[in-house]
């Protein structure tokens, strides 16, 4: 079989980028983001990207790097947080923005990967989010129709992976990564560790290899957005 395992993020991305493409990028805040593939996207010079990602990174890190270079034309997100460059581009009209409720975003991505064209959710009924969408009553309650989302490429970050593309995530770094892995026409995964095929317990694989086209070992800064600690009481 064509080997899924590639030496680095640049070679993993080779031949897959084109201007105007739609990219799903995993992570919540800066937690579990595909740091290496974001850098490779930046180096590729691809322009006019629509990025589907729960958040938009911060100035100088994560997706903030692609905002800096103005490679992103549109974001589909639930919360864009504190990002000055984002705010500047958005307010000047350079950057388009589509907000989705976080659960609706997660479900739309799952639906896209699962062949579900649309689904009815209570989330957003009677709000701006439901404007222009069908609302329908089931069992006396109103629901709004949301559609599945797919992407030309999804880039995800996992903890461990093998050459078959089987992936395991760690703690809350899982977040949007598993659904995005299913909803890209092509999915590239970056992992902290490549393990031999057979080393992962088959009952415990979060993303089966069928969803992963290319896999690469990355190196990770894992920047923390809100370092919050408690003090140890004196012994």
């Amino acid at each position: 079989m064509a080997d899924k395992l590639l030496p680095d993020a640049q070679s993993a991305l080779a031949g897959l980028t084109f201007d105007g493409m739609v990219v799903m990028s995993g992570g919540f805040g800066l937690c579990g983001i595909p740091e290496n593939l974001i850098l490779a996207l930046r180096e590729s010079g691809v322009k006019g990207i629509t990025v589907i990602s729960n958040n938009a990174g911060v100035d100088g890190f994560g997706l903030g790097l692609l905002l800096e270079t103005r490679q992103i034309a549109k974001m589909v997100s639930s919360y864009v947080g504190e990002n000055k460059e984002f705010e500047r581009q958005y307010l000047s009209g350079e950057l388009q923005l589509e907000f989705n409720p976080q659960g609706t975003l997660a479900e739309r991505i799952r639906a896209g990967g699962a062949g579900i064209a649309g689904f009815y959710t209570k989330t957003g009924v009677g709000t701006l989010v439901a404007e222009g969408k069908e609302t329908r009553s089931f069992h006396g309650e109103d629901y709004v129709l949301e559609t599945g989302l797919v992407a030309d490429l999804s880039i995800v970050k996992a903890w461990k992976g093998d050459a078959e593309g089987n992936l395991v995530y760690r703690k809350t770094a899982r977040n949007f990564n598993p659904m995005m892995a299913t909803a890209g026409k092509i999915c590239i995964a970056e992992v902290e560790e490549i393990v031999p095929v057979g080393a992962l317990d088959p009952d415990q694989i979060h993303t089966p290899g069928i969803f992963v086209d290319r896999i690469v070992k990355g190196s990770f800064e894992k920047r923390i957005e809100q370092r919050t600690v408690r003090k140890r009481e004196a012994a």
Partner: protein, 218 residues
């Protein structure tokens, strides 16, 4: 005396019940975790994919892979489990969370909630708030009774874009506690007053119609 932030959190904690699965919003709601009674087991859900949130870590325990929905570093507990965002919101939307405690910009007398967007200001996004109010069984709002300029926040109808329609069950402000019959027709009721706050004061600072149905504070 209006309630302090900690008193608000303490009052909100009285809505907890043993065995509850609870989602706490950012800000004052997060403080509620400090007031869970010792004899009560409450499991905190974090919508970024965790059940059984522990306290903030000690400095040497920090793990960048372990954060809450406010992006703060946290810890896990023996009972914890991790899952995807899709599974997390399936849990929320599916009605499996008993209680959510959230902040608000405005609440209407019918239980409409606005807490994500001020037109003309840079909008950060609704995050998971719309999913929480649509899916969680009981929604408790904790907020200052009035805006900084003194304008009422408990209104006949919200003026800001909504987070949800008829979703709020209880509003705890620094002046008192209001009950909303979100699924029915009973008017909003003032059920508690902060110590030293008069009915007249609260009437003056509230636009929403309400009827006093005061009970003895516990």
């Amino acid at each position: 005396m209006p309630w302090t932030r900690d008193q608000l959190a303490q009052r909100a904690a009285r809505e907890l019940r043993d065995g509850f699965y609870v989602n706490l919003g950012i800000g004052i709601p997060t403080l509620v975790a400090n007031y869970i009674p010792d004899d009560m087991e409450v499991t905190l859900q974090s919508e970024n994919g965790m059940l059984g949130m522990g306290p903030f870590p000690y400095d040497d325990e920090i793990d960048p892979d372990l954060i809450n929905a406010g992006k703060q570093t946290i810890t896990a507990l023996p009972k914890s489990s991790f899952f995807s965002s899709a599974d997390s919101f399936a849990m929320i939307r599916g009605g499996h969370i008993a209680l959510s405690i959230l902040g608000a910009m405005e609440v209407s007398e019918r239980g409409d909630l606005a807490n994500w967007m001020v037109p003309g200001k840079m909008v950060k996004g609704m995050g998971g708030a719309m999913d929480l109010v649509a899916g969680v069984k009981r929604v408790v709002i904790v907020m200052e009774h009035t805006a900084r300029d003194g304008a009422p926040k408990l209104l006949h109808a919200c003026s800001l874009p909504l987070t949800g329609v008829r979703v709020v069950d209880l509003v705890i402000t620094d002046l008192g506690v209001f009950e909303i019959d979100k699924a029915g027709d009973r008017p909003m009721a003032l059920i508690e007053l902060a110590d030293g706050v008069s009915l007249d004061e609260i009437r003056a600072k509230t636009e929403a119609a309400f009827e006093p149905r005061l009970r003895q504070a516990a």
